[in-house]
Structure formats: structure tokens, C-alpha cells
């Protein structure tokens, strides 16, 4: 019987076995040496090719992807505006300013100016570089201090969703001098243009409000010229452009004239032009003179008293001469125009100084109708074209006063742009605000050629 004691078993081993290199140990050591060497060889080959891409900290943005292999385009050293070569870990602002304009942000007020890279992070993949993080803005605006001390504006803004002031435009009344009652115009069954026998006009917002790019019409309630697509303005091009973003201005000729014509005298057909009082005055005089030439006996007719202006009783007129008739007739018509027709919408200055000293005509105050309500931010109507107008501008249906500001408040925007990470539309600062003060931009001189940028230059 085969017997094996512990001693026998022990003696069959080589006691120094751990000092010897077995095949397994050799294979392990060889692999441990070769695998790193393989990777070093890869880096060496890349180095010989002059390719620094392996050391890049991340993928370039799409905008700069063409510079992917020309690291020194951005990472060169600059002294002032002079490129002196070498390699710099963090790209200097001057490297960005070689290709881009970036006017300073309130240069005389800010306590510090961040570097380009601190807001526009590169090497983080295919991102939109202009889409900067809120923290870049709130690092100052969460507790705003300027070189002049505390600013006059709200100085603690954290985010659009959480802590952002109401829009400035809503904090003061609309100072437009054109009297307009939205609620009246939004009623159903309006009478419509002169001659309409039924009340069948229902105005839509787009009858008056359309983006700047769609101003060529047709406009339902414009002049005959505007009621059909007109060639007066350049037609829309095949590409969308910034004219889609903002609403175009309101004009009498496009939006009001069909219903609100400007008749001036029963003897003369038609309307006065929607022009300055001086032009209107000239038009009235010419029209009546022309009428008198056509009807030489007209000045002898007695004009029955009429009651054309509420509260003003006119007496029957009997002219003594054609000139006298013309003078009285112009005065009567202009009294009607200045006192009622124009005044229905326009504010006229009543002080003596306001009258034209030579013609004795009233002075119409400038309309002062804002074409842009957000003076420091940007809103794109075309991006919101899926939303009904009254969904945001609900007050337009009931507003009776001109002074009502009808842009929606911040809560309306927050319905979608709440700032919640996954369940809301984008609400970053960059969406509405721009950091750079583009009014300060200066003439720019490009320096690169395409081969230099693409790395094909010798």
C-alpha cells in the first residue's frame, strides 16, 4: 500500500521555489513590461508626427473643431497682441480676440473682467460656446457691486426660475401717445370698413401684429395697396433671419386705414393723407380750391348749420367772396380734423408754443410707440409661434387704456422656462441676455488664412 507521510510530502518540494521564475511569473513580468511600452510607443509615434491631440483635455466644440490639431493656434504665448510662440496651458484672451470681437461688459462699472475661457469653456465636446452657464453671470449679479458702489438696478439675481426681477418694461406705463383701446378692437362683430352694412369683422392679433419680416402684407385692413401682397418691400428670402424674431411696427396705412378713413369735407370726396398738419392743411386747401374751380357758384350757397363736433354748435355760413368761402371752409374742415379726427388717436400739444407760428397748425406729439420692449434682452417671437398670442398677452383682450403695458410678465414665461432641470424649456441667462456690449465693437482686421487654420500651411 502506498503510504505518504507529511515529512515525505514536505521533502518533495523545492524550498526555494519562490525564488525561481516560473513560466507564469515570466509571462506576467513580460506582459507588465510590454503593455506600457506599447502605449509609450503610440505616444512616441504621435509625438514624432507632431500631433499633440492625445494630450488634449477633451473634444473641441464644433465651432473650433477645425483647429483640433493646431493646438498652438489658441495655446500660443502672447505679449500684448503679439504672438511669440511657445505653448501655454490656458489659452490667453488675446488668442480668442485674434479671431473674435468681444466688446467689454460695462467696462466702466465692472469690478473685474472674466477671461474668455472662464465663460466659454472649450474642450468639453460639441457644445454651443455661447451657451454659457448661469454661474458665470450670477458670480457678479447674485450680489452686484460696481466700481461706483451699489447699482440702481436689482442687485441680487440667482436664476430666471428662482430669483429674477419682473421685466422692467412692466414697471412703468406705456407712454405711447397714440390712444388705442385693445378691448374695443378685440370685440367680436365690429362694423368694419365704411360702407359695411353688417357687423361681421372679428379682428385677429395678426391683422396688426406680425414679425418684421412679414410686413409686406397682405394686410386685411390696410389701404388698397396693402390689402394685396405688395412689391413695395423686399419679399422674404428662402432663409430665416432675425426679422422673424421681433414684431414689426404698427402703421396707420397698413393696419387702420380700411376702417378709420380720414374724411374732411362733404364737398370733397376722399380722405386727407395721414401726414403732418402742414401737409394735411395744404391738401385741404388744394382740394377745396379745386372744388371751387369745378363749381364756381358753390361759394354763394348757404351752408346749413351742422353739429359735427359734439358740444360745438356751428352757425350757418354765407360767404361774401370765393376767397372768403375758401377761408371759412378750410377753417371749418381743419377744426373738425384737429379737434376730432386726428385727436381720436393722436395727442396734440395745446400750449400756444406748440402751434406752428406761421400756419397756426397744431403740433402732433410723436407717437413714441416702442418697437422693442425689452431693451436689454432678446425675445424671439418665431421661436414661440406655436403658442397662441392671447396665451401670453391675455391682458390685450381686456385692456382699455393706452398706458397698459401688454407684454406678459415673468410668471407667464416661467410657465415653460421654470429652470427645472428636466421638465422645463431652457432658462439660462444666455437665452435672453448678452454679456458683450456690441455697441462698443470696433473695426476688425482678420489675420488668418484658411490653410493656416486648417493646418495645411507650410
Amino acid at each position: 500500500m502506498r503510504k505518504r507521510t507529511a515529512k515525505q510530502l514536505g521533502t518533495r518540494h523545492d524550498l526555494n521555489y519562490f525564488k525561481t521564475w516560473t513560466r507564469r511569473k515570466l509571462a506576467l513580468a513580460l506582459l507588465a513590461a510590454c503593455v506600457p511600452v506599447l502605449f509609450l510607443a503610440w505616444l512616441g509615434v504621435q509625438g514624432l508626427r507632431g500631433d499633440s491631440v492625445p494630450y488634449s483635455s477633451g473634444k473641441m466644440s464644433r465651432a473650433h473643431a477645425v483647429l483640433g490639431k493646431q493646438c498652438d493656434t489658441c495655446h500660443a504665448n502672447f505679449v500684448g497682441t503679439l504672438r511669440v510662440g511657445g505653448f501655454r496651458k490656458h489659452a490667453q484672451d488675446q488668442a480668442c480676440l485674434t479671431c473674435h470681437q468681444a466688446p467689454a461688459h460695462h467696462a466702466d462699472l465692472v469690478t473685474f473682467t472674466p477671461t474668455c475661457g472662464s465663460c466659454h469653456a472649450e474642450h468639453v465636446g460639441s457644445v454651443q460656446l455661447a451657451r454659457t452657464a448661469d454661474q458665470n453671470c450670477t458670480q457678479c449679479h447674485s450680489d452686484l457691486k460696481t466700481t461706483h458702489g451699489s447699482p440702481h438696478m436689482v442687485n441680487a439675481i440667482l436664476s430666471f426660475g428662482k430669483q429674477h426681477p419682473e421685466f422692467a418694461a412692466l414697471k412703468k406705463p406705456d407712454l405711447t401717445t397714440i390712444a388705442f383701446n385693445h378691448s374695443v378692437h378685440m370685440k367680436s362683430g365690429l362694423l368694419g370698413p365704411p360702407g359695411s352694412k353688417t357687423r361681421n369683422v372679428d379682428l385677429e392679433c395678426s391683422d396688426c401684429h406680425r414679425p418684421s419680416g412679414e410686413q409686406q402684407g397682405p394686410w386685411r385692413f390696410g389701404s388698397a395697396q396693402w390689402q394685396h401682397a405688395s412689391a413695395n418691400e423686399a419679399p422674404l428670402g428662402p432663409m430665416r433671419d432675425s426679422r422673424e424674431a421681433l414684431m414689426g411696427p404698427i402703421s396707420y396705412d397698413k393696419h387702420c386705414i380700411a376702417c378709420h378713413s380720414l374724411p374732411f369735407d362733404t364737398k370733397a370726396a376722399g380722405s386727407v393723407p395721414h401726414e403732418t398738419p402742414a401737409v394735411v392743411d395744404g391738401f385741404v386747401r388744394t382740394a377745396l380750391t379745386q372744388y371751387l374751380k369745378t363749381n364756381p357758384a358753390a361759394w354763394r350757397e348757404t351752408e346749413a348749420a351742422t353739429r359735427r363736433i359734439p358740444g360745438v354748435q356751428q352757425v350757418a355760413l354765407q360767404a361774401k367772396s370765393p376767397d372768403d368761402w375758401l377761408k371759412d371752409r378750410v377753417a371749418s374742415d381743419e377744426t373738425l380734423l384737429w379737434g376730432k379726427t386726428c385727436k381720436q388717436c393722436h395727442a396734440e400739444t395745446t400750449s400756444p408754443d406748440a402751434h406752428d407760428s406761421q400756419l397756426g397748425l397744431p403740433k402732433i406729439q410723436p407717437a413714441s410707440m416702442p418697437t422693442r420692449w425689452f431693451s436689454h434682452s432678446y425675445f424671439d417671437h418665431s421661436a414661440h409661434s406655436a403658442v397662441r398670442c392671447d396665451s401670453c398677452h391675455a391682458a390685450a383682450l381686456t385692456s382699455a387704456r393706452t398706458s397698459d403695458v401688454l407684454i406678459p410678465g415673468i410668471d407667464s414665461c416661467r410657465s415653460c422656462h421654470s429652470g427645472a432641470s428636466n421638465s422645463s424649456a431652457e432658462s439660462g441667462c444666455f437665452l435672453c441676455h448678452q454679456y458683450h456690449d456690441w455697441q462698443q465693437r470696433k473695426p476688425f482686421k482678420p489675420v488668418y488664412t484658411i490653410p493656416q487654420l486648417t493646418g495645411q500651411a507650410d
Binding site: 502506498r2 510530502l9 523545492d14 506576467l28 506600457p36 488634449s56 483635455s57 465663460c119 469653456a121 452657464a133
Partner: protein, 296 residues
């Protein structure tokens, strides 16, 4: 190494360090304008700590090389290697801000992931396989000495063979007992056909099986086949030789155990062929990444 209650303290310390790192990372990540980055102060700190943990994990191989150094028990080093090596992974992810970066850092992250995955796989094997070996390998020996033991088994079998295929030198060999000499001589004189059959079986089947490292195709790899073969040998031979065949059968059984042990040990250690070289590559490329990132 089994992951048992002796790992509890290491596991707790690792969990605490992870939670502390997480507590630093989360606010840092939320407050960073462009998200976490390896180049920020906190990102660099995570990188230094993560690489430090990897260096510590690498030192285990040196500890194994210099067994006599009084720098702590090998088991303690192994536990540290296991838990702190594991901790290095989330720390490095925090360092990278869960992004891959450029090609060098992408390769580094892939390699580190493979190192950690192979390490976890190895730890699982090291936890379960030793028990399995103890259960299934009765005559276990030192893995690196298996070839040497197998050669000794061949020698032992050759000596036993002399009993049924004697040579003059064999009969005179001092290792042979008188009883076996008599049995061998009896067989030689009585039945030359049986003797040649047994010799043929030994030369064609038993010895090749014992000498070969893997012995694929040999029917002696199967315990049942082996039993049948030796039963047949006992049937055709005189009873006095049965003990010889019992011993040969026992030697074959030990060889089967060695083969089984080899197989389990290949499982137990083959993952190191991936783990160690990849870890070496991570250390070298990690150093290059650190130098390039900090310098440039």
C-alpha cells in the same frame, strides 16, 4: 484571499472615504459653471489622491517580491490593495468629472476600468475557488511545484513498473522489496503474454499520462476509465501484484488531482495576466498625463 469579517474595518474606512469624497464632489459639481473638471483645484486634488491610491495598490507587488521586509503583513497589504484600489476608481471618476476627455485620458479611463473590473473578478475568484480546490483536490500541492511533483510521480511509477516488467537492474535495485522481486520473477517465469500486456499498458497509457502536463485524450483523465483499466490489470495478473496496481492507481489519482488543481489555479491566476500589465500601463500613462496636464 477570502473576503470575510477581517475586511470589515477596511470596508468601513473605504465607505467613509467614499462618502467624504462624494460630499466634496456633489456641491463642487453643482456649483462649477462648466461642470467638474480635472484641471480645477478640487479636480487636481481628486487626481492626486486617486493616483496616490493607485500607487499604494501597486506597492503590493513590491511587498510580495520582498517577503522578508518588516513593512506589515502581506494579508494587510492585500486588504489595502483590494479596498483602496477599489476606492481609487470613484475618486478618479470625480477627478475626471465623469467625462473621458482627450484620447490619452480616454485610454486611461478604459484601462483603469479594465483593471478595476479584472480586480473585482479576481477577488471573487479568490473568494470562492480556494474552498472549491480544498473540496475537490484531495492531494493539493504548491501550484508552482506541480511540475516537480509530477516528475516525482513518474519516477515512483517507473519503480513500480519493475514488478511486472523486470530488468536485471530493476530486480537488483535496492528500492525493491523481496516480496516484489519474487512476484516479478514469478510473473516473468509463468506468463510472458500477461507480462507483455501489462508492460504495454504501462508504456502506452499510464506513463504518458503521468508525464504529460495536460494529457489530453488519455482515458486515465477519467476516474471511471482509470478504475476499469486497473481492474482489468488486476484481473489478468497474480494476486501478489495487485498491491502494485493499487499504488499505480493511487498515483494516477494524484495526477488527476494535480491536473484539477492546475485547472483551478489557471482560473485563479490567469486574470492577473490582464490585471497586472494593464495596471502597469495605467501607472505609466497616468504619470505622463499628470506631468503633461500640470506642466502644460
Amino acid at each position: 484571499m477570502r473576503i470575510d469579517h477581517t475586511h470589515k474595518r477596511w470596508a468601513i474606512v473605504t465607505a467613509i472615504l467614499f462618502l467624504v469624497s462624494l460630499a466634496v464632489y456633489v456641491p463642487y459639481s453643482l456649483e462649477s459653471a462648466h461642470g467638474p473638471s480635472g484641471g480645477s483645484a478640487i479636480g487636481i486634488a481628486f487626481g492626486v489622491v486617486g493616483y496616490g491610491l493607485m500607487i499604494f495598490a501597486t506597492l503590493l507587488s513590491l511587498r510580495k517580491r520582498f517577503t522578508t521586509w518588516r513593512i506589515g503583513r502581506a494579508q494587510t497589504w492585500m486588504r489595502g490593495h483590494l479596498w483602496l484600489g477599489l476606492l481609487s476608481y470613484p475618486i478618479i471618476l470625480f477627478h475626471a468629472g465623469f467625462s473621458l476627455g482627450g484620447s490619452l485620458t480616454t485610454i486611461l479611463m478604459i484601462l483603469l476600468s479594465l483593471v478595476i473590473a479584472s480586480g473585482i473578478f479576481g477577488a471573487v475568484l479568490q473568494h470562492y475557488l480556494p474552498n472549491l480546490i480544498t473540496e475537490r483536490v484531495a492531494m493539493e500541492t504548491i501550484y508552482d511545484q506541480i511540475d516537480r511533483v509530477r516528475a516525482q510521480l513518474v519516477e515512483e511509477a517507473d519503480r513500480l513498473r519493475l514488478a511486472f516488467s523486470p530488468t536485471l537492474e530493476g530486480l537488483l535495485a535496492p528500492a525493491m522489496s523481496n516480496e516484489r522481486r519474487i512476484a516479478a520473477l514469478t510473473l516473468k517465469l509463468v506468463n510472458s503474454q500477461t507480462r507483455s500486456h501489462l508492460t504495454e499498458v504501462y508504456s502506452d497509457q499510464i506513463r504518458p499520462y503521468l508525464s504529460a502536463r495536460s494529457a489530453r485524450g488519455s482515458n486515465l483523465r477519467s476516474e471511471r476509465e482509470s478504475k476499469l483499466l486497473f481492474e482489468q490489470m488486476r484481473t489478468v495478473s497474480p494476486e501478489m501484484l495487485h498491491e502494485i496496481f493499487n499504488d499505480l492507481e493511487n498515483i494516477c489519482q494524484e495526477k488527476r488531482d494535480l491536473d484539477r488543481q492546475s485547472k483551478y489555479h489557471r482560473w485563479l491566476h490567469s486574470w492577473l495576466l490582464g490585471h497586472v500589465p494593464l495596471a502597469a500601463a495605467v501607472m505609466v500613462l497616468g504619470l505622463i498625463h499628470a506631468v503633461v496636464a500640470l506642466r502644460y
